[in-house]
Assembly symmetry: C2
Homo-oligomer: 242 residues x 2
Amino acid sequence: MAQESPTFSPLYQQIKNLIVQGLEAGEWRPGESIPSEAELAVRFGVSQGTVRKAVDEMAAENLLIRRQGKGTFVATHADPRAFFRFLRLVPLSGGVEQSKSVPLECWRAKAGAEAARVLKLKLGDPIIIVRRVLQFSGKPVVVDEIYLPGEIFPGLSLDVLKDYQGSLYNLFESHFHVPMIRAEERIRAVAADRGTAELLGVLEGSPLLSVERVTHSYGDKPVEWRRGLYSTAEHCYYNELN
Amino acid sequence: MAQESPTFSPLYQQIKNLIVQGLEAGEWRPGESIPSEAELAVRFGVSQGTVRKAVDEMAAENLLIRRQGKGTFVATHADPRAFFRFLRLVPLSGGVEQSKSVPLECWRAKAGAEAARVLKLKLGDPIIIVRRVLQFSGKPVVVDEIYLPGEIFPGLSLDVLKDYQGSLYNLFESHFHVPMIRAEERIRAVAADRGTAELLGVLEGSPLLSVERVTHSYGDKPVEWRRGLYSTAEHCYYNELN
DNA sequence: GAGTGGTCTAGACCACTGC
DNA sequence: CAGTGGTCTAGACCACTCG
């Protein structure tokens, strides 16, 4: 029953890990429902209350979504409400906007020192680099440069990107089975270089937000490194602090 | 027992509200412990499990802090670990730094249209404006301009600010009984004006982060409006996304 | 050892969804 | 109506802190 202190882990934590393993293994895919609490309780040989606590925490971490009367679902970037989950950009003055991703380039390369460190790859491992522009209401607002491990995004190309309707993370999760779970961002202010200024329609040297993001999949595995340059002429980065 | 749908609110929510009322009323002050779960259960006439759920949520919102074996405590900005609760600034290259707030000015004024709107005051209501510099390792990194409702910060002056050791929010909570609970930030990139550039030791026109923050106390009451200009030469704004 | 929060259980009942 | 998550209870036992 009782465990010795060094390796003590509550039951609900172990249940959480088991459920995460199911997610990693693709037993339940994004958007699908997982078994009911009662079923999981039987399956894992614990009480429903313990399953409940495990699922509660996973829902708090946005891995699962509970819907009363319907079931518990695997979080998905396909849900349009999830579009702004990792994009903390809002218009300066109200209103909802149409957004559109315009891919510019996509090529393969070998990981340099920094990319290897951030993505936990070896020097020279294959990577994919994507450049794209994000438009709101037809106006360019963000230029992104995105570094991906080549290994886990086989077949990604400019054509694939151009053909796909929906967000990048939606594509990653549905075509490559790489769900984006968590991210860290580091934000600085920089001056627009010539090329970026042209893409964003601002003057060279204008202040831009530089948003560097490392995105992780299950098991805290880093699977994307991107740097976005945001024009804050008509938008701002919105954050809530608790 | 059961309540009709229009006004249904779970018991633990009502308990939460009761505890918040105790906090607002100053029954338990920041840093102090609240009664044990068992005591609260008796006091409110519910089971310990229900109190537990209420406290769990309040701990998740950073209103309370649980410490196994010791009790449950009211969150406080006096805790040095809370210093960076609302300051998402980290050095670009590792290391821990000494920080220091240097007050520059503090004067009284009447709320203009924008200040009145943000702080939910009437036009012309008394406000206090503070300007200060934040230093890290002796170097200026942030210039803040802070707007406060005069009503709830009586006696605040440059001398009070200069005499106080510790963070502003620590001062607000201990001297004025105004605990800061929650904040929203809107971040843009701007060019440094002459005066700010001098204060931060950067060139005029350098890109800076403009961080506009509205801070709230209990009951979502806005009690501070500040605009910070951050030099991101050696620091960046760090954010985690889930 | 006494007191605190943390875990786990079993069972009852409620609220919501969809057939 | 059956099935799901949501709430509430009562009680047992564990882990941590402190005197």
